[in-house]
């Protein structure tokens, strides 16, 4: 069963409210089956500016529904960082969610810290049987007044 976080179903909540309420990753990404997660992504569009998919753990990225821009990686986050996040994180309020292996998240989390952003949610991606995989679903959002946190 897909479990969509009820906050996302409430259009009166603004972005900031959503982030503060937490559960964004679960709404955006986390459902009981990986195949269902893709649909949940679509529901999170109002709150997320960028989606990141690590193709090592989610080769089905092509099936992704419409939504926030999608950046595919193969573990190496150099281009994601240099071409997109480098500028995006200099401005306040950018929210990025992803499904990656731990190594890619490690690098992104440290880059986020440098820019006063942080991982606000992180949990293992479940497979269709509800077992944890080696993929992590996460959300990175501002964590300091200088970037609207």
């Amino acid at each position: 069963m897909m479990k969509v976080n009820p906050v996302l179903a409430n259009p009166s909540l603004n972005r900031r409210g959503l982030l503060k309420a937490g559960g964004l990753a679960s709404a955006a990404l986390g459902v009981s089956g990986a195949s269902m997660s893709a649909k949940a992504w679509a529901a999170s569009v109002p709150a997320i500016d960028l989606r990141v998919i690590d193709q090592r753990v989610w080769p089905r990225a092509a099936d992704m529904p419409q939504g926030a821009p999608l950046h595919l990686i193969d573990g190496d986050v150099t281009h994601l960082w240099y071409d997109t996040l480098y500028q995006a994180w200099k401005k306040p309020g950018f929210v990025v969610a992803g499904v990656t292996k731990a190594d890619a998240l490690f690098v992104l989390e440290h880059l986020a810290w440098d820019n006063r952003y942080k991982v606000i949610e992180r949990r293992p991606l479940l497979d269709d049987d509800g077992q944890a995989t080696d993929a992590i679903q996460w959300v990175i959002a501002p964590a300091h007044p200088s970037v609207g946190g």
């Binding site: 573990g75 190496d76 150099t78 960082w81 690098v107 810290w113 440098d114 200088s146």
Partner: protein, 536 residues
């Protein structure tokens, strides 16, 4: 719970934090556990133990005046400060201090490229300028200069150079502290000092003549604790027009000795950039018989290694050479290298690699076009910062021991044998064996790598890694090989191994430390230099 520095009360620490907030703004003083997470060493083998070196707080000043204010407050409360530039020193302690409870001075906000010149080939930068920042600055302005970048590119020229980091282009530029030219530092008493020509008010050549007049103390700030560096100059490599690679192989194990001598010549004559050695027989390590041979007690007999190479149809050694410059010069230098080595070493062979004009295309950066298996880090070789190296990181990271050895084949064989035997008792991959190749990162020396991985969830493994590190430092030192760089938890052991003249160098450093930093507030313990009040 805040970790307090030694001999500082919670009340005094709080007062200091209040003064720091007033001096630099409350938003830039961090003391909660959550805020201090980024200042832990996530590669630490003593993660989450009592011994883990943890910051008591962190501050992020915006300018030199704020750094001075921080230093003055720290002096009042005798609180140690630990300056970092980008704080990415993973494998050597990350952003974590030598002394728990220190206040990390995080200089990332000071991130201006102050000057860059592509006619006289230098840059002057603040500590928070990362390699990515400087690269972007150069690209956006179309400047014709290269950086020499280490991996990963999120570090900073200043932080990397202050730990004597290394890169991948031409020898002079690979040695990052060697290619620095003039610095500015806030001293432990809060004064601002400039070295070299920077000491001359209105100097016109700060980044062009490093020495100035009289002794040059710039070197004291690398792996030292004599101040907080707030500006640093670097020589930049004029962007070469063309790049070419080629590989030379030698048939017999003994041939390696002559090969190294020729490559030393090519390197010291500045004909080649980083020469990348590798041993094709490393591919055989998966076979138990060959693994047993390559790690044999007392060293693998030359005849057996030659027989293994012959049976596998592989050369004994190979080196990849890299040429930079005008197209004709690259071609001529490669022709010269081939001729020189092939005419001197029977059985040596040469294979042409890639050759292309610079800047490289995205495809060329992938380094998939070489007609042989290559070990060149192409981004680094072309001065382009990258994070791709992260793929080599295993488990929860690693700690690094990189002993420096002479550039000779005999020295390589000796280190392979001695370190392999010494570390045999530890259940680790064979970092040292008869196929371990030296790294040619320093300009005039080789290094080998011992970088066992750590596992956050496995303290027993980490304790074993810790023992292996300490043994490696000790055994190497007994054979005249020193480590070039170490995490805070190993700095005392490494420093103790540089013991000539009954530790004359360490005593000299201590005397200077006591004179320049009588309160011992700047990075006590860094480089193995402890101020008086911390010495046992």
């Amino acid at each position: 719970m805040a970790v307090l520095p030694p001999n500082v009360s919670a009340a005094d620490f709080d007062k200091a934090l209040t003064e720091l907030r007033a001096a630099i703004g409350a938003d830039w003083v961090f003391s909660s556990d959550d805020d201090l997470g980024p200042y832990r060493d996530s590669f630490s083998p003593i993660w989450d133990t009592e011994e883990e070196r943890r910051a008591g707080a962190a501050v992020a000043p915006a300018d030199v005046e704020q750094v001075q204010a921080i230093v003055r407050i720290a002096n009042r409360y005798l609180i140690p400060l630990f300056p970092i530039s980008t704080g990415k020193n993973f494998g050597y302690g990350g952003p974590s201090p030598n002394v728990s409870g220190s206040i990390v001075v995080d200089l990332k906000r000071m991130n201006r490229v102050l000057e860059i010149d592509d006619k006289r080939h230098f840059a002057l930068v603040e500590p928070g300028v990362s390699y990515f920042d400087l690269y972007r600055h150069i690209q956006e302005r179309g400047l014709k200069v290269w950086l020499d970048v280490p991996d990963p590119g999120w570090g900073s020229p200043l932080g990397n150079a202050l730990d004597r980091g290394v890169g991948y282009t031409m020898g002079y530029y690979r040695d990052h502290i060697g290619a620095s030219c003039g610095l500015e530092a806030v001293l432990p008493n809060g004064e601002v000092m400039r070295t070299g020509m920077g000491a001359l008010p209105d100097s016109k050549t700060w980044q062009e003549y490093r020495h100035g007049f009289g002794p040059d103390p710039a070197g004291l700030f690398a792996q030292g604790n004599f101040g907080i560096v707030t500006k640093m100059g670097f020589r930049l490599y004029p962007q070469p027009e063309h790049y070419r690679t080629g590989m030379i192989t030698v048939a017999k194990r003994r041939d390696y000795i002559a090969l190294v001598e020729h490559v030393n010549y090519l390197s010291d004559a500045m004909i080649v950039g980083e020469a990348v050695y590798s041993n094709p027989l490393a591919a055989l390590l998966a076979k138990p018989d060959f693994m047993a041979l390559a790690t044999k007690q007392g060293g693998a007999p030359e005849s057996e290694m030659d027989a293994a190479a012959a049976a596998a149809g592989l050369p004994s050694w190979q080196v990849e050479l890299q040429f930079y410059g005008p197209e004709a010069a690259c071609a001529a230098n490669w022709a010269y290298a081939k001729d020189r080595i092939l005419s001197a070493i029977p059985g040596a062979k040469a294979v042409d690699g890639e050759a292309f004009p610079l800047p490289a295309t995205p495809e060329q950066l992938l380094n998939t076009g070489q007609p042989y298996k290559t070990h060149i880090r192409r981004n680094g070789a072309l001065g382009i910062p990258s994070l791709g190296i992260w793929k080599i990181v295993r488990d929860s990271g690693h700690v690094g021991f990189f002993p420096v050895l002479p550039r000779s084949g005999e020295a390589v064989y000796e280190m392979q044998r001695v370190m392999c035997d010494a570390l045999r008792e530890f259940p680790l991959p064979p970092f040292f064996s008869a196929v371990t190749a030296p790294l040619y990162w320093p300009q005039f020396a080789f290094q080998m790598v011992f970088a066992p991985s750590v596992k956050k969830e496995d303290p027993d493994h980490n304790a074993m890694v810790d023992r292996s590190m300490r043994k490696a430092i000790e055994v190497a030192a007994k054979h005249g090989w020193g480590d070039y760089r170490a995490a805070p938890i190993y700095q005392d052991a490494v420093s103790a191994s540089y013991s000539f003249g009954d530790h004359a160098l360490r005593r000299f450093h201590e005397q200077m430390k006591d004179a320049i930093d009588p309160n011992g507030i700047i990075a006590p313990g860094r480089g193995g230099i402890w101020p008086k009040r911390f010495r046992k």
